[in-house]
Symmetry: C2
Subunit: 338 residues, 2 copies
Amino acid sequence: MGVVIPLEDGKNKQASVQPLVDLTKADMERVNQLILAKAGSDVEMIPEVANHLISSGGKRLRPMLTLASAAMFGFHGDAHVKLATSVEFMHTATLLHDDVVDESDLRRGKSTARMIWGNQASVLVGDFLLGQAFRMMVEVGSLDALDVLSTAASVIAEGEVLQLSVAKNMETTEDDYLSVIRAKTAALFAAAAEVGPIVAKTDRSARNALKSYGMNLGLAFQLVDDVLDYGGKAADLGKNVGDDFREGKITLPVILSYRRGTAEERSFWKDAIEGGNATDANLEHALGLITRYGGLTDTIARARHYGTIARDALAPLPASPWKDALLEVIDFCIDRVN
Amino acid sequence: MGVVIPLEDGKNKQASVQPLVDLTKADMERVNQLILAKAGSDVEMIPEVANHLISSGGKRLRPMLTLASAAMFGFHGDAHVKLATSVEFMHTATLLHDDVVDESDLRRGKSTARMIWGNQASVLVGDFLLGQAFRMMVEVGSLDALDVLSTAASVIAEGEVLQLSVAKNMETTEDDYLSVIRAKTAALFAAAAEVGPIVAKTDRSARNALKSYGMNLGLAFQLVDDVLDYGGKAADLGKNVGDDFREGKITLPVILSYRRGTAEERSFWKDAIEGGNATDANLEHALGLITRYGGLTDTIARARHYGTIARDALAPLPASPWKDALLEVIDFCIDRVN
C-alpha cells in the first residue's frame, strides 16, 4: 500500500548527504566515541537501552549540522564535538519518550526500546540522556550555547504537548500544524545549526543565518517525513505506512485533503481520525483521497518553499565546500520522497 | 492496617519545619510566583498538568533548602530564587515521570496527573518542566551551579533506572538500596543545598558542608519515607499503606526483615515480592514480620545515623537562625514517623 510520488521535472542528479558526511567524517568519529562514553553507566540497563537506539542507523543529521556549522567558520577544538553529541542525545531522549507517548512498536525497522525494556526504562533512560546532554553543554561552558539548547529542550516538549492537544482534531489548520512541527522538529535543527557559529564566535549575522537555515531545513524535513508516512515502503522507512493515520495524527497531507474534500469526505475523515476508525480499508480510501486532492505533492511543494528559505538564509555566506554541502542537504531532505 | 512506631525516649518537643518556613517566607513567595510564570504556556495542557501537581500541597522542602543555604551566607538577589525554582521543577518533573513508571494512581491524596491527563501528558510536561528548569539555571549564569544541577539530573535518572533493575529482587543488599536512594533522592537534596553557597560565592568548605548536609538529610528523608509507606495512614500520607509492597519495591524495612528471617519467611518474601503475590493478607503478614524483626525501628535508627552526619556537616558554620532552622529540619524529617 502506498502512493506514487511524482518526480520533479528537469532534475538530473539526486542530491546527497554524502558531501556533508565526508566533510564531517573525522569529527563524527569523535562524536561517536563520545556517544558511547557518555551513554555508559554502571547501571547496565542504561547503555543497553541507549545503544539499541543509538546503533539503529539513524543518519545523525543533527550532529553533522552542528559540526559543519562550526567548522565552516574555521573552528577547531572540542566544543563543537561535545555540543554535537549533546544535540544527538537530546534527539535520542525525545525519540525514547516519543515512542512511549505514541505507543510505537517499530522505529527504523527495529523494535522500539519500550517493546524490549518497557515504557519505564524508555522514560528514565531518556531522562538520563537529557541530563548527560546538559552536562556536556556545561563542560563546553558557553552560556549562549546553553541558552539556545535549553530553550530548544523546552520548546520541543511544548511542541509535543501541543501535538497531543491537536491530535484527532480534524479542524486543525495548516498553521496549527506548522506550530507543532516548528517546535517539535525544526527547533532542534535550528539550535543544532546555531550553536556552531556560537562556539566559532562569529558575528551575529552568521549566527542568525545558520539558525534560519536550520529552522527551515527542519520544517522541510518534517513535511517530507509526514509525506513518507503515507508514501514510503515500510522496509525503507523503518516503520509502517499509515502509522500516523492509525494514531490519529493530523499531518499536512491529511489537513489538505480534508479541507479540499466534499462534506461526505470530511465525514469520512472525522470518522476515521477522530472516531478512531482507522481500518486498513479506511487507510486505502484515505490514500485515494490524498492522491485525488494532491495532499502529498502539495506537501512536498510546501517543503520546497521552506527549503528555498533555508537556501537564501545561507546565501550571504562566503562560498566553501561546507556551504555547498549544507545546501545540498536541503535538496537531499526533500528528494528523499523519490 | 499499619504498624505502631515507638516514640524515641526522652524527647519532649516535636521538631518542626516552621522556623525554616518563616525565614524563607518572603523568598518562597517569589519562588511561587516564578513557578506559576515558568509553568505557563500557550499550550493549555501544560499549566493544567503542572499546576495540578504544583498546587497539591508538597512541603517545597527542596527550594527552601536552596534559599536558606544562600541566605545564610548573606546572599540577596534573584539567583537563589531562580535556582530554588529550578530545583522544584526538577523535582516535579521527576514526580510526573515516576508516577508513569510506577503506574501510581494516588499522590499526596489526589489522583496523579497520569490518571487525569494520561501517561503521554505526564511524560511530556515533565520534559517541559525540566527544560524550563535548565533555562532558569542558564539565566542565573553560574556554570558551577549548572554543573551541580545538571549532574544531579543525570544521577537522579540513573538512580531510577537502578531502582528498576533491583526491583522485585529480594537479594538486594542494604548497600544496593543505599545506592538507589543516594541517587534518586539524596542527590537532589545535596544539589539544592550546594547551589546556595555557590551563588553566595562562599569558600569551598562552606559549599562542601552544605552539600554533605543535603546528601545526608536526603538519605534520612527517604529512609523515613520508606518507613511511612508501611507505617503511615493513607489520609496522612496521601498514598496507600503498602504501595511499595504491592509494587514489589525493595526498601530497607523489607531488606532487614528478609535477611533476619527464617528460611520459611524468606520464601514468603520471595513469593510476595518477586512472585508478585502481594495480596492484602500477605501485606498483613509482611507487616507482622517487619514488626517482629524491627524493620521499621531499625530503618529509623539508620535515618538518625545519617541525620547525625548532616548535623555534624553544618557544625563548623557560625551560629545563626538559618543554621538552627536547617538543623531542626533534620529532626523534623525523622520525627515525621510519629
